[in-house]
Symmetry: C2
Subunit: 325 residues, 2 copies
Amino acid sequence: MQVLIIGGGGFLGRRLARELLANGGLYQGELRHMILLDKSFPESKTNDDRVEYIEADFNNEAVIRNALRHRPELIFHLAAIVSGEAEKNFDLGMRINFHGTLQLLEQCRALHHHPRIVFASSCAVFGGDVSKTIHDETGPKPRSSYGTQKAMVELLMNDYSRRGFVDARSLRLPTIAIRPGKPNAATSSFVSAIIREPLAGQRATYPVPLKTEVWIQSPKRVVQNFIHAANLEERLLGDDRMINLPGLTTTIEALIRALEKIADPGITRLIVHEPDAFLEGIVLTWPPRFHTERANTLGFVRDNSAEEVIKSYIVEEGITMGSTK
Amino acid sequence: MQVLIIGGGGFLGRRLARELLANGGLYQGELRHMILLDKSFPESKTNDDRVEYIEADFNNEAVIRNALRHRPELIFHLAAIVSGEAEKNFDLGMRINFHGTLQLLEQCRALHHHPRIVFASSCAVFGGDVSKTIHDETGPKPRSSYGTQKAMVELLMNDYSRRGFVDARSLRLPTIAIRPGKPNAATSSFVSAIIREPLAGQRATYPVPLKTEVWIQSPKRVVQNFIHAANLEERLLGDDRMINLPGLTTTIEALIRALEKIADPGITRLIVHEPDAFLEGIVLTWPPRFHTERANTLGFVRDNSAEEVIKSYIVEEGITMGSTK
């Protein structure tokens, strides 16, 4: 089968590609060819001859046409202008997060072959009174342009699926932690940084109060959930393709305590509260508590504890610690 | 003040214009100039010199620019490709209902004067399990392209308001009944027809079972609610501009029984069940039961009974009946 990963140069896209190339696991059949589309590929490229790279801006008609030329049966769409950047640059966010995706859907529609699309949406579609638990029927009330653009695309994915143009499933991702590499412009970037940087002997800051609850999922579980979504039969989803992934509700404090247990207790001296009104203004509008009945029934997976999330990072990224218990 | 009514040639737009010209009632001040924009004006034009007509397609950059040239403080946006038409012609619905409105918002943003917008959205944003009562926090799950396009625009209205580009309020209208005039391509058109046509001695059909519940509001109440929405202070709305209007839950059967009471009992011979799979497929996905706490608190109004709705039509439209009790 033909697979396209849009955002295939990003952190999750690379992991997903590696997993599919190494272990397959797609019920639709053997992976024959995979296109990774992204504006840049920071890591060294594979020499697996099933893989083709397209290095270009996603929001371009000719680029999308080229990426779809083999009529992929399965498309993972992970490309986005992240939350902080989309809030600061409204036009850029609209262009990539919304119009680029609409362009993709329109070209898929023109293919007349009903490709399956796994779309990386976000729990940032929610907002408002975050003291309430989010249920499957709770409506998006985004308090960011990023969340707005994701919620609009989810509606398109539903309608294009209902009309039979595509077969989409929109996964509302929790905050991904722990992300390897460098901080990015996502407003949730600090959730990873407060674990990752101290483990590398570096200082890290968090912009919100210590008791702030967050809704997280490890990269390992997210990749599992992407592949699971690709394997779900369409009849199980009906006309509603929006799925709140099952995450873990934890706090900044619990993450720091778990890090202390895993690493040197002195490590927490590297983690400092540095309030930031801009980040608070967005992060504190993301609800941290969900009941994800539908996703549970459909077989999506979650992490069980802050410790598990940190250990998963250490194992997956091969982190060596100077001083561990 | 300057007022613009987009869709000012339509049935609700005309009524709204008449009401504003006759009675004013806008807290922002005296109505000095009103532009009515629509693709056609089927009724005779007023000679009120405060009124200017623009007869053009709404989805056109130059047309919108012209309509905004006086920098209106208040814009009512009622223009739409109706549900049945948007379902049959996907591209047309997207062009007018979505892209046209996005264009309007972009030009409002460029005005840098934060115009107030009252947007006619629709309860067709809801769908799915219609046995459940819709609450203020229930999420849109449209089962029509019309509902999808309305839900996407609501998200835009929220985000453009949150960013301070405009000051919007999206009213989710129940099915409007009783509409005067001819049947239109709205899939709910029959709800009006089964009352209107028999009162004119004509036959009418309904495509859904007699016990089907509908969520309705009379034109009189809708116009009151449009004006009320225009008068609400922005601080009462916060970042959430989506409002489920308070309607009346009734049934096809209750409407027919009320008509019998008001008119000649024999009138019901003119009303015939004629199943229509296309119409059923859309109408039966619209939930008929709402708890509209927020709208009630904000002071929006409703109709109290099927009889009141029918009598309102008879009085407002000056209907004379051959044989009444």
